[in-house]
């Protein structure tokens, strides 16, 4: 009957837990290293029903068990069940800590009242721990008709379906079906139980069990009190079948509280009831198809309650608990080494709203490191009174060896019977601490208990309204679309630069060679300057330029500064350097040099005609020498 799916999260998680067991010194580091993984522990869910076949007038128990190797477990999410009315019946929790390894198992019990005859399915029940989801498989349940009593009078007719009009009394059609809601008290202290009773009365047959929609509460916390009680009664001469649904509510804080109307949706049979006194009358209608009926929605009356303020004089340890409680506490061992974990369990039992109980404040214990406290909760609903026990377990790690004393743990509550505060205590406790290996681990029960976003489904993201592509992408696309040959340009530039660099280097290494080659062009430039001077009416300057230009030209060609040489030596030098040059050329050089020297140093000045003649003569000489020096 048990169906479950177990989800294994990851092996490193188990390793991290083992690390706590074996090493105190390295545990902090290991916990840090594996912290993100251990946020989601291994967990599983299973569901079972107490029977696979149930009568339509009866209920079955569904137990959902969630187990995890962490301090807390997520609560299962019951799916929408349209074929059952579901009531929470309680929970019980088992927790164990063995050498720091925590194992928790919580059983949630629900009472399911079937609404229709036939094979009904309890859909998969899921539980989500923030990362992984585990779920049970479907459970099929056969809902059958109520077996006819051997003696119809020996057993009361099943409730909620129909009733027999007791007498011939005329009944107002509005009174054939109605719903009432009442509480056992109109005022209560916060966390004091108020019992709400919703009763559904019907004097007509129904095609199926009605659907019950519990009321909404304001400033109240509700807890179901199953099972549904069924019965028959006679009111003003009319026999009614009734269903009674009880709910415990607890005031949240001082002020007004409200219970909104409960709703029952019933399917009435359209045809007239022929024989209400037929012993099988009820079963006949139950077996009818629900679609044959007429849908009726009935609401109860709303209720207003007063939540009172606690009287003054509360002790410091009072945190709002109200009811009747006892306390006990125990250590898991009496002897321990420093650095080892010691479990202190404080159990609070009794009647009251245990869900909201917070852990008693532990006394100061300077000789112990005190770590997180985890709690386990068992809720019972016997005799419609919410009670049970809540165990708070705290890990203590002794710092010093020797005989240590843990002071009493105190808990205060408001005793509703005595209308007074009471403080109860457990302890003190003695423990012998021996010398251990280390300081102790950083132990934490908190394992990703964040209340996060609950993903419902996943889907693609919406369309984009960006008309343009990103500029960088568009630019990159344009550039990459350019002809690849363009990338040869920088290669060409590099080669050109290399050639220029080599040329420059060669020129620097051979200055005379370049002067020889440039002599003609520089002389031509000088000629232009001389002409400009002559045009400007400065024949003496023109003659001076020509004189200097001739000497520079001869220096560049001969490779020696000729201004420091005589004409004779210069001509000899030229003859030696350019043996192919004719005598006529050297004669012309000597003649021009002599004339220019005469003009340059003449005290009477330089006649323009003479300067012009020298320019022409120099030009002819240059052309001639360029040819002669190549011979």
């Amino acid at each position: 009957m048990r169906k479950n799916i177990k989800i294994c999260i990851s092996t490193p998680v188990r390793y991290s837990l083992l690390a706590i067991r074996f090493s105190c010194a390295f545990v902090p580091l290991l916990l840090c290293a594996f912290a993100p993984l251990s946020l989601y522990a291994e967990f599983s869910i299973s569901a079972e029903v107490d029977r696979k076949t149930v009568e339509i007038t009866d209920s079955l128990y569904l137990t959902v068990t969630v187990s995890a190797d962490s301090a807390s477990v997520p609560e299962p999410k019951l799916p929408q069940m349209t074929n059952f009315n579901v009531y929470s019946s309680g929970r019980s929790q088992n927790i164990s800590i063995i050498n720091g390894k925590i194992a928790t198992s919580v059983s949630f019990t629900y009472v399911l009242s079937p609404m229709f005859i036939g094979r009904q399915t309890i859909p998969p029940i899921s539980v989500f721990n923030g990362k992984e989801r585990a779920m049970t498989q479907e459970i099929d349940v056969l809902v059958v008709r109520t077996a006819a009593p051997r003696d119809p009078r020996a057993r009361p007719a099943p409730a909620t379906r129909t009733a027999r009009p007791a007498t011939q009394a005329e009944v107002n059609p509005e009174d054939l079906l109605y719903l009432t809601a009442e509480t056992d008290k109109n005022a209560a202290y916060p966390n004091e139980q108020i019992t709400l009773t919703v009763k559904f009365y019907t004097a007509v047959p129904l095609t199926s069990n009605p659907q019950y929609l519990p009321p909404q509460f304001k400033n109240l916390i509700a807890e179901d009190l199953p099972p549904v009680r069924n019965g028959e009664t006679v009111i003003k001469g009319t026999r009614y079948a009734y269903s009674e649904i009880k709910t415990a509510v607890f005031g949240h804080e001082e002020g007004q509280a409200r219970i909104n109307p409960a709703v029952v949706i019933a399917q009435l049979h359209r045809e007239a009831v022929t024989d209400f006194f037929d012993p099988n009358f009820f079963q006949k209608f139950i077996s009818m198809n629900a679609a044959q009926g007429e849908r009726r929605e009935i609401k109860s009356n709303p209720l207003t309650l007063a939540i009172l303020a606690f009287p003054p004089g509360a002790p410091p340890s009072f945190k709002g608990a109200a009811g009747s409680f006892t306390i006990s506490a125990e250590l898991d061992r009496k002897e321990i080494k420093t650095g080892e974990a010691l479990n202190l369990s404080v159990k609070i039992s009794g009647s009251g709203n245990l869900k909201v109980l917070t852990a008693p404040k532990l006394p100061d214990m300077p000789d112990f490191k005190v770590y997180d406290t985890m709690s386990s909760l068992d809720i019972s609903k016997e005799n419609d009174v919410i009670g049970g026990k809540k165990v708070f377990t705290t890990i203590l790690i002794p710092r010093r060896e020797g005989r240590q004393t843990i002071p009493p743990v105190r808990f205060s509550f408001f005793d509703l019977a005595a209308k007074a505060y009471r403080e109860i205590a457990a302890g003190p406790f003695e423990v012998t601490v021996l010398k251990g290996d280390g300081e102790g681990a950083n132990v934490s029960f908190v394992r990703g208990e964040q209340v996060g976003i609950t993903p419902l489904a996943s889907d693609i993201r919406y369309v984009s309204d960006k008309a343009a592509p990103p500029p960088a992408a568009a630019l990159a696309r344009r550039i990459s679309a350019l002809p690849p040959g363009l990338n040869l340009i920088p290669v060409f530039i590099a080669f050109l630069s290399f050639w220029l660099a080599r040329a420059k280097e060669f020129r620097l290494k051979n200055p005379l060679l370049f002067r020889f080659k440039k002599a003609r062009s520089e002389a031509a430039s000088d000629l232009l300057n001389a002409r400009e001077k002559l045009k400007g009416g400065l024949p003496a300057e023109a003659a001076a330029i020509l004189y200097d230009s001739l000497l520079d030209y001869l220096s560049d060609k001969s490779g020696q500064k000729v201004s420091g040489l005589t004409r004779k030596k210069t001509l000899a030098l030229l003859k030696e350097k350019f043996p192919g040059a004719g005598d006529y050329a050297t004669g012309e050089i000597e003649d021009l040099w002599e004339n220019l020297e005469a003009l340059h140093f003449s005290p009477d000045g330089t006649p323009p005609e003479r300067a012009k003649e020298m320019i022409e003569k120099y030009l002819v000489l240059l052309d001639m020498l360029e040819k002669e020096f190549r011979k």
């Binding site: 996943s458 889907d459 693609i460 993201r461 919406y462 369309v463 984009s464 309204d465 960006k466 008309a467 343009a468 592509p469 990103p470 500029p471 960088a472 992408a473 568009a474 630019l475 990159a476 696309r477 344009r478 550039i479 990459s480 990338n487 920088p490 290669v491 530039i493 590099a494 050109l496 630069s497 290399f498 220029l500 660099a501 420059k504």
Partner: protein, 255 residues
């Protein structure tokens, strides 16, 4: 001494022109896109798809058109074309979170992993951080910078010490871009294709009907094209399964 001097005032207009050109390339009428998106919003996916196809034909470099077309196909329950268009959009704009998310989602819906098992997501993100075009552009920029710096090095040897660091940087960038580009050749999206035709597509042992069909490829399966020179068949590989074969060109579309 030769001196190369490029004034800043000449560079800025060139860059501006290039950027403006990039914008102009993508200057699609926003109102038209909004109109198509309205069709999508109202559930008229086929009409929206036709609009997106128009955008794609006019702007093949705009990832928006491909992405929205992928969405329309997805809504029409055609995962093959949806993955194809998401992949095209993603190749153009790999840093777009929406495109990435939808491609991953669609792949997951078809039982494929976007991030291969065992590969850290960060590494996967970095691997695809730049598009192929951006990688090419980065490589070209590094190439140009390298050779221009070499030229400068030749022309101004006295400044060699100052040139060395940028020269090394350009060389390193060129090597990085080149290696990155080569490493991307194993990507399933490079030379990739998606089975979009009638599913399952038959994987043949040769390019013709006379060869044996030895595997069936489901729709939306991402494959790698090895050879597309045949008129009717692609030679494809499925690296994960280690098989290759031929599928009809009508069964698969290139990313």
């Amino acid at each position: 001494m030769l001196r190369i001097k490029v004034p800043l005032k000449n560079i800025l207009p060139a860059v501006t022109l290039a950027l403006w050109g990039a914008r102009a390339l993508s200057a699609y009428d926003r109102s038209v896109l909004a109109e198509y998106n309205d069709l999508y919003k109202n559930g008229n996916y086929q009409s929206a798809l036709e609009g997106y196809a128009d955008i794609i034909s006019k702007e093949p470099a705009n990832p928006c058109g491909f992405y929205n077309a992928g969405n329309a196909y997805f809504r029409m329950n055609k995962p093959g074309p949806a993955i194809l268009y998401y992949s095209k959009a993603w190749r153009l704009d790999p840093r777009n979170a929406d495109i990435r998310a939808n491609l991953e989602f669609a792949l997951k819906q078809t039982g494929q992993a976007f991030v291969p098992d065992g590969v850290p997501r960060v590494l996967h993100y970095l691997y695809y951080y730049l598009s192929d075009d951006e990688l090419k552009t980065a490589a070209a920029a590094a190439w140009w910078a390298l050779f221009l710096l070499v030229s400068f090095y030749f022309l101004k040897p006295k400044s060699a010490a100052g040139t060395r660091t940028p020269l090394l940087a350009a060389g390193g960038l060129l090597a990085l871009a080149g290696l990155w580009f080569i490493a991307r050749s194993v990507s399933p999206f490079r030379d990739g294709a998606v089975i979009t035709g009638e599913a399952p597509a038959r994987l043949m042992s040769g390019p013709g009907e006379n060869f044996k069909a030895y595997a069936a490829l489901p729709e939306a399966r991402l494959v790698k094209i090895l050879d597309d020179t045949d008129d009717n068949y692609y030679e494809i590989a499925i690296p994960k399964e280690g098989i290759k074969g031929w599928v009809k060109k009508t069964s698969a579309e290139k990313i």
